[in-house]
Amino acid sequence: MLEGTPAAVQVTSGLIASQPLILAIHILGVAGFAYIVAKRLVPLLRAERDPRFDRPVARVRKVLKFWFGQWKHPRYKVAGTLHILIFAGFLLLAMRAFTVLFAGTSHSLLLGVPGTTAYLYEVATDYAATIVFLCMIFAMVRRLAFKPARYAVPARFGKAHTGDAIFLLALIAILMVADSLFEATKAVGQAHQAGSPAFAAALSLPWLFKVVLVSASLPVLTKLCLGAFLTHQVAFYFLLCYRPFGIQFHVETSLFNVYFAKLERGMLKPVKWGIPDEHLDQVKSLGVKTFEDFTWKHMLDFYSCADCGRCSDNCPANAAGRPLSPRFLSIKARDYAFKHYPMFGTATNGTPLVGGIYSEDEIWSCTTCGACEEECPLLVEYIDKVVDLRRGLVDDGNVPQSLQKPLKALETRGNPYGKMEKKRADWTANKEFQQACRVKTLDKKNGADVLYFVDSISSYDDRMQSISRAAAKVLNYIGENFGVLGAAERDSGHEVRRFGEETLFMALRDHNTEAIRASGVARIVTADPHAYNALKHDYTDMPPVEHISQVMARGVKSGKLRFNPVENSANVYTYHDPCYLGRHNQIYEDPRQVLDAIPGLKRVEMTRSRDRSFCCGGGGLMLFYEPKEEERIGVKRVRMAAEAGANVIVTACPFCMVNIEDAIKVAGLEGKMTAIDLVELVDQHIERESPAAAHEEIQTHQESVTGR
């Protein structure tokens, strides 16, 4: 070291001397990362196509909201706050990290850029590094001492991931310390030179180091500076190259995962992108059977999963002890990719996923409620993957025995119960009902403005027929000119499709499409959210579709629907959001507005409501499936209603009604809790000239409730 050299330059002189080493680490780090990422991209190139390069504006908007804006994170207060702080810190520190890294090879960068902006950036990053460091300590303590339940790994899914998590957190903490120490040595050097030790960013990590080092000798500072730099550099590249082997790969992939995320709700991906329905018969194999049958975006999802466990924490199937945990759908597939596409050696592929990493029960356990997708901060998709896996199972004939009969009946009779087509409109044959309301069957002679699409369960199930009659009476009261398709209606096929039987779904859809077009209606109304979602998203070129709750909300607003005071003012009502009305179609307010319009009705919210609503247990074919579970999903839901202090659960879906009414009995809450459909409740409370008509229906409803 030369006498007379400015102290600031002397402190960093070790770096200049070590330039070849630093450069070598740079090259090694960048090359290593490039190689690893290239290897990780191999399966994506062998994957199924998935056109996600459209609508850049909508995608950028998603990035701004969900990636840059961290939109989903505050849903978990502690973890979310930590993540937002770390994310913001990383964004701030990114430029400094690159500056520091390249400072090792460029002396002009070493001494920093003068100016107010640079000074403010210094201060901001000093604090950012400190906050990130503290977050790491906090996260480690949280992982080790508080152990949030959702991070636990059930034995069937392997060992706990705590070790890996701690290792990564510690590495980032080291990175922050090294970075701060490096900044501090430089600053102390500059202070020596200027003779005035005034350090910015009080109480930050670099500031602490500066205070400690202020009296350190120049040789010590020089050594520390080089040591901190090398530690920072090595830790940085180690992290960069290690992340693609675990959950922290999301640091790199998240931006892409969010940009390419699905833009529509309630929609399913086609069996194969780019192949029209009529050519599906020529496709050799349908659905996902091997890893390479996933689309590249779905593989990117696997890489992006951060193992945060929010999906499974909200998954009703997981809560009920079914063999499904969405988190491990991703983790197991990611591990499969890592194992079968190794860093060295050739890729091995083609082994079946179901029977390999997944079990059949796991795949059939999903109710497609969408709670996992609603929660995922990285917008990982699950429903499309589950349906694709089911498509593969169906294609190979691996369908649970209990589902085969209903599927066959759907094929021959158009409903899962095997009932006669001609009896589809028998729910209208009730005498008292016919006095109150006539329902016409649409044909060439009888037209109408509105089609009331009933769907199978509300047509044939004794209990659910009461929902259909209530819906018809409400439509009648509002003054809609409506009719039904009667024997010409088939099951909407919503669950048929979600259970992977695409060919059967297409047959049902085509039949209904033709019947609806022939009816010449201008609008469609349904009281079944599954039918609503099918007609809205699975069918094409349909007249506008509405759920009855939307029609009723409009009636309330326009004054067409007026209610008598609530019949039993001691009742406390709670509204259960059906998944296909709420999460999949964002209809949360309309049913609540209708409820609140009934004078004197007391309503409470369950903790899990709106987009966090907890599925009733699943509709359609799920009613025929016998899952392995510890406790019924519906029973859990009924308990949530009881906890909220309600004694009447109002829902707006016939399948929710089946599950909730059964669950009330299983939970032993009969007599203490009842369930009613929104449209039944409205029908009971409509302000009619003569209240007789409504009253009879209430009585039949009460009988059927107790009679089940």
Binding site: D281, G397, A409, G418
Partner: protein, 263 residues
């Protein structure tokens, strides 16, 4: 192993409302939905599983008309190698013995190591398998609920015995077995699978092709003739329990124990 499965198309009991015709000689068949007789479907699945283990082919055969081709296609969609329709105006109205006579024709025409039938069809006769075995002079086992291929010419089969017991038998090939439901879990066949085999030609053999003596089959040769068909009037066997849930449960347990339903 070359396996022949004899199948039949029957009204699907789970998807129909069975009513009698006005003459009272048969059920009203106009709006019925038909499918393969359920035990026959298990027989085909079992044949497919045996062939998957030891090799060979599965042929599904049915006696009937054009409409019955539908079940052959469904079973071919499941994986059966061939389907054969045995159709002739002379076959119409055959009783179980007549059907067995016709089936004997197809067995004699080709070579089969193993012949499977469902345990019974919807009418519950459970006769054709046994009769076919007797006519062929083959060994026969009924109510089979598991099959193990021991060596080239021998099987180990398990039979369901009253009360849920099982017996294990060795049986020489060729033989006829009637298959009980529950022996396996038949695979699912969707519309797509059926469409894939829609254009496969299905051979149609008549009495001449099979060397069947027409005087021994058909309505005239039938020695069993149905003379009546009715739904028994409901007796007074039903007792309605109208107590509270706990009382009803106790009563049910008591009744079941009294009738020997609970041990």
């Amino acid at each position: 192993m070359e396996i022949l499965v004899c199948a039949r198309r029957v009204p699907d009991t789970s998807e129909n409302e069975i009513t009698l015709n006005s003459a009272g000689t048969d059920i009203e068949r106009d709006e019925l939905v038909y499918s393969i007789n359920e035990p026959d479907n298990y027989a085909v699945e079992e044949a497919l599983q045996i062939v998957a283990r030891v090799g060979g082919s599965v042929t599904v055969v049915t006696v009937g008309g054009e409409d019955d081709e539908e079940i052959l296609r469904r079973e071919m969609a499941m994986g059966a190698t061939h389907g054969i329709l045995l159709s002739d105006t002379a076959f119409e109205g055959s009783d179980a013995r007549g059907i067995a006579t016709i089936l004997k024709g197809i067995v004699r025409k080709s070579h089969y190591d193993l012949i499977l039938t469902g345990v019974q069809a919807e009418a519950g006769g459970a006769q054709v398998g046994g009769m076919l075995a007797a006519m062929l002079d083959y060994p026969f086992a009924s109510l089979v609920n598991s099959i193990e291929v021991l060596e080239v010419k021998k099987l180990k089969v398990s039979r369901e015995i009253e009360g849920g017991n099982r017996e294990i038998n060795e049986i020489d090939l060729p033989c006829v077995l009637s298959i009980q439901t529950g022996i396996n879990e038949p695979r699912y066949v969707g519309m797509r699978g059926i469409r894939a085999v829609a254009s496969v030609a299905i051979p149609n053999y008549g009495a001449g092709d099979l060397g069947v003596d027409t005087s021994r089959v058909g309505a005239k040769a039938a020695k069993v003739k149905r003379v009546d068909y009715f739904v028994p009037t409901l007796g007074k066997g039903a007792e309605m329990l109208d107590g509270s849930r706990e009382e009803n449960i106790e009563k049910v347990i008591e009744l079941m124990a009294a009738k020997g339903g609970l041990k």
